[in-house]
């Protein structure tokens, strides 16, 4: 079973790029959300295996969403996605419940590498 991924980013550009990379990498992109509030709702509705969460977003940012989602005791693993200059946020993200992070600018190896690290025992 391919892992089911929810993509959360406020830009279509990144959502599309992530979708393309993940789909080519054998993941099943089951949904998209464009802010933290939608992310929480979609996480509850779709129960994905992995949630890729952008940090800077309107309405509710990625860190708040990560905290809320990890509070729901869902099996989903959260991967934060953020830009250069935001490395310090990574620590905060981990304490907010994230299992990994991807640093923009995006490329295939960064994205697929970060997701692969989530499941060290499996070969997918």
């Amino acid at each position: 079973m391919p892992k089911r991924v929810l993509i959360v980013d406020d830009g279509i550009f990144f959502r599309r790029a992530l979708r393309d990379i993940l789909t080519a990498g054998g993941y099943d992109v089951i949904g998209e959300a464009e802010n933290g509030e939608q992310a929480v709702a979609e996480a509850i509705r779709l129960r994905p295996d992995i949630i890729i969460l952008d940090v800077v977003m309107p309405v509710k940012n990625g860190l708040e969403a990560a905290r809320e989602i990890s509070g729901l005791a869902m099996p989903a693993k959260i991967v934060m996605c953020t830009s250069l200059g935001y490395e310090p946020i990574v620590d905060e993200a981990v304490s907010s419940g994230a299992s990994g992070y991807i640093l923009k600018p995006l490329n295939e190896s960064k994205v697929l590498g970060a997701l692969k690290n989530l499941y060290p025992a499996e070969t997918c």
Binding site: D10, D28, I30, E32, S83, L84, E108
Partner: protein, 542 residues
């Protein structure tokens, strides 16, 4: 990753952000506004991230420095001054000029160091050096395209009549047809150059096809935009209060699919308003809020799109539905053995779709048979669930694009039919005697064998007498869990082809068991079979 394919998206999104920047700057120029500063920060942040991913360094650097500055202003480390705003406006002009160069594939060689220095000074809370300001690099950036400001420009976004894409797709359909002829010739050919040529041609046609398909995609929003007005008018006529919520309206579908959905969508909504949602008084009596809710939720599920229409109305009374179905000649045994889910589908029975019956049964039957026909005609599925007193949910699962599908060609007598490859489990060669016996062993059980000719109502004696026969094992439904396997006996099978399917128009659309038509080699028409209909029990449809 081929980043260039994201350029159009980049240009669209970035120019949207730049408009947002302009609006924000003009707003904070009038006075500090925390929300506007926050939003500006996010605009710069997004532009930075995208520009970095695209490798547009000057844009990334400019956006990054401005983002830093805004972060300082946001956290009150830096005071917002008119000087800063005008510097940011200069940067905006520079970014716009750069974006134009991106659009025209010109090198981004403008020197932006002056602007960056100004931003750094501003970020330190220092006065912005007027000397630097005079040497501001907006000028050189613009100087490289001096004619631009007085030029009549054509937009990069074109409005094209949808029909153009229908024609393009039809042409690609023909190309695919010719291609398959070439492909079959390569088997017999010894020419490597010819084989390579056909292979390359195939890749180009594939690329052309997927590009046209992508261009044909439209968001569901285009369909749902008209609904609030329709609902408003219905509410005024009926005295009901209804709130419409739409989620996932950005999910896109091929325009032909979306177009076909327009009728069903209005039917479903009208049924919800007329028969589902109660009057405000009735709702209050049933401990509900006076305002009824209709929710449309769309999401994608692999290569398919799911659209759910949910209302919180009175639901469907299954028992009364069964009684009405009995009265209209449905078999008693079958109705008794029906699960709730199956019984709900009775609403799609043509006999039940008269307004009087529906009003009496407090159900929703107007045109539901037509809705089901359209959805299934598109290769989709329709599901209804309902809780009496609490509401009804209609779930439509649809292919996001239907035009070209992979299909297996099979022969019955002199005719060729196409079976969607997604339904084919196995192709078996068996003796004609076994094929005619009505059932056979398959995997761990017995499966039913039907004659495809008989299922389509063809004259079976037209088939030549043969020693061997072919059985195509198909699934009755896309979903493995609630489907069974059925074998269809045919005379022979041919190639797997990419067929460009044209929809059937009335009266042909009423034919049972077929869902489209295509032209195969030598200008012969072939029907695409509707396996959902053909695998249903012959008595299920009246």
């Amino acid at each position: 990753m081929d980043i260039s394919k994201y350029k159009t998206l980049y240009l669209q999104e970035t120019s949207g952000h730049l408009s947002g920047v302009e609006k924000g700057l003009l707003s904070i120029e009038k006075g500090y506004d925390a929300a506007a500063v926050d939003e500006l920060f996010r605009h710069y942040h997004s532009i930075k991230g995208m520009s970095a991913s695209m490798g547009y360094e000057p844009l990334k650097k400019l956006a990054h420095s401005q983002e830093n500055l805004l972060d300082g202003i946001r956290s009150k480390r830096i005071d917002l001054t008119p000087e800063i705003v005008s510097t940011l406006l200069q940067c905006l002009d520079a970014m716009r000029a750069l974006l134009e160069r991106v659009e025209n594939d010109l090198p981004l060689d403008a020197d932006i160091s002056g602007l960056l220095e100004m931003l750094i000074s501003a970020g330190k809370g220092e006065p912005i050096n007027p000397r630097t300001q005079r040497q501001s690099e907006t000028a050189p950036v613009q100087a490289k395209t001096p004619e631009k400001s007085h030029e009549l420009k054509l937009s990069n976004v074109m409005t094209v009549e949808g029909r153009v894409f229908d024609d393009l797709l039809s042409i690609v359909g023909d190309l695919l047809g010719s291609l398959s002829t070439f492909k079959s010739l390569t088997h017999a050919s010894r020419s490597i150059a010819f084989k390579d040529g056909v292979h390359t041609l195939g890749r180009s046609v594939d690329a052309l096809y997927s590009n046209i398909l992508a261009a044909r995609m439209l968001p569901i929003k285009d369909l749902t935009e008209g609904l609030p007005r329709i609902i408003r008018d219905m509410c005024i006529a009926s005295g009901k209060e209804i709130e419409l919520k739409i989620e996932g309206s950005e999910i896109s579908l091929d325009r032909s699919v979306l177009q076909s959905l327009a009728g069903p969508m209005v039917h479903i909504i009208r049924n919800s308003v007329d028969h589902g949602i109660e009057t405000p008084d009735d709702r209050i009596n049933n401990a509900k809020g006076p305002t009824g809710q209709i929710r449309i939720t769309a999401y994608s599920k692999k290569d398919r799109a799911v659209i759910e229409v949910t209302d919180d109305g009175r639901g469907i009374d299954i028992e009364r539905l069964k009684i009405e179905a009995l009265a209209r000649g449905a078999s008693r045994d079958k109705i008794i053995s029906m699960t709730g889910k199956e019984a709900l589908m009775l609403i799609c029975m043509p006999g039940l779709s008269t307004a009087t019956v529906v009003t009496e049964t407090s159900g929703r039957g107007v045109g539901m048979d037509a809705v089901k026909d359209v959805i299934e005609g598109l290769g989709g599925t329709l599901e209804i669930s309902s809780t009496p007193g609490a509401g009804t949910k209609i779930t439509m699962e649809l292919p996001r694009s239907t035009a070209i599908i992979k299909a297996l060609a099979v022969n019955v007598g002199t005719e060729v039919f196409l079976i969607p490859i997604s339904r084919v489990e196995h192709v078996l060669e068996v003796s004609a005697r076994l094929a005619g016996s009505g059932s056979m062993e398959y995997e761990d059980g017995q499966i039913e064998i039907r004659s495809l000719a008989a299922a389509l109502g063809m004259d079976e004696t037209a088939s030549p007498a043969r020693q061997a026969s072919t059985v195509i094992v198909v699934r009755s439904a896309r979903d493995e869990r609630d489907s069974r396997l059925i074998g269809f006996a045919v005379d022979d099978f041919g190639e797997e082809i990419d067929a460009y399917i044209r929809p059937l128009l009335p009266p042909m659309s009423r034919l049972r068991g077929v869902m489209g038509i295509t032209i195969i080699g030598e200008a012969r028409p072939a029907f695409l079979l509707d396996m959902a209909q053909l695998t249903s029990k012959p008595t299920e449809r009246t």
